[in-house]
Amino acid sequence: MPADPQPPGTGARIPDGDEARLVARTLAGDRAAFGTLVERYAAQARRVARAVLGDPDDADDAAQDGLLSALVKLAQYDPRRPFGPWLMRIVANAATDRRRRRTVRWTEQLDPGLAGGGPRPDADAERAALGERLRAALKQLTPRRRMAVVLFDVEGYAHGEIAEILGIPEGTVRSEVFHARRQLRALLQDWKEA
């Protein structure tokens, strides 16, 4: 099973391929076709949900809710349009709803040493520490800003598609991505300079 069809760091979105055929088979009751769709989009859905919720368990619950909600609404999907943005909108809504329903746990607490620009960790731990630092930095952004930057820089969606996913104007998406990047860079500045 391909764990994730998108190579890390490319920002390239999952190419639209045979989703329409898989959707048609799923609607006809083909569980394997649904499984293929889930495999293809699971990692992306989980990352988007985590961008909203922070806690990985909450995020997985929301991603699961979103994917199954998409299955319930699958007959409403227009196969002439790309599948990814349609699905991500449902996942983003599921994550946002979950966030509204309860106080979300943020398990990632920024290490005081990292927050204060303390000594840089050993090279072996650098990657893990950067991940921790980024998660803490993301926490400082609004959920919509987090989703915008993750959908753009991580998942490779275009501004117009993100506008469709988040239900906001394209200009607002550009602004959210811009401000998210600026905030993240500012929060990570001392990391770069260390």
Partner: protein, 121 residues
């Protein structure tokens, strides 16, 4: 990371993207996929409109109702209804008398019995 971002930068930042991707990387993918796919049947049931669910049951419902009606008819047809004549009813109704016997008897009364009741009065 791109150090000089502008509002018009429409290209994804590969360095920031890779770092964020690593930071948000989910855990066991296979377990998650299995968990979602396990909900397939329940979600599909929820997806079906009510009338479709009812229609799905209609065929079996009609068949069951037909079988039940046939069985009921068969049982009624085969059950031996006590064919009580007026004479037996008259004999068993000690206090009700002939009128009761005439009303409870299922077979047409014999004329002699009717005559006897009149004589009795």
């Amino acid at each position: 990371m791109n150090d000089t971002p502008t509002r018009f930068d429409h290209r994804p930042d590969p360095v920031l993207g890779a770092a964020l991707r690593h930071a948000l990387e989910p855990g066991d993918q296979a377990a998650f996929v299995a968990r979602v796919v396990a909900g397939f049947d329940v979600a599909r049931t929820a997806a079906a409109p009510t009338w479709e669910v009812l229609a799905g049951w209609a065929g079996r419902g009609i068949a069951a109702a037909t079988v039940a009606a046939l069985l009921a008819g068969l049982l009624l047809a085969r059950s031996p209804r006590a064919s009580v004549g007026v004479e037996e009813a008259f004999a068993s109704t000690a206090e009700g008398g002939a009128t009761t016997a005439l009303l409870t008897g299922l077979r047409p009364p014999d004329a002699s019995v009717v005559f006897a009741t009149l004589v009795e009065r």
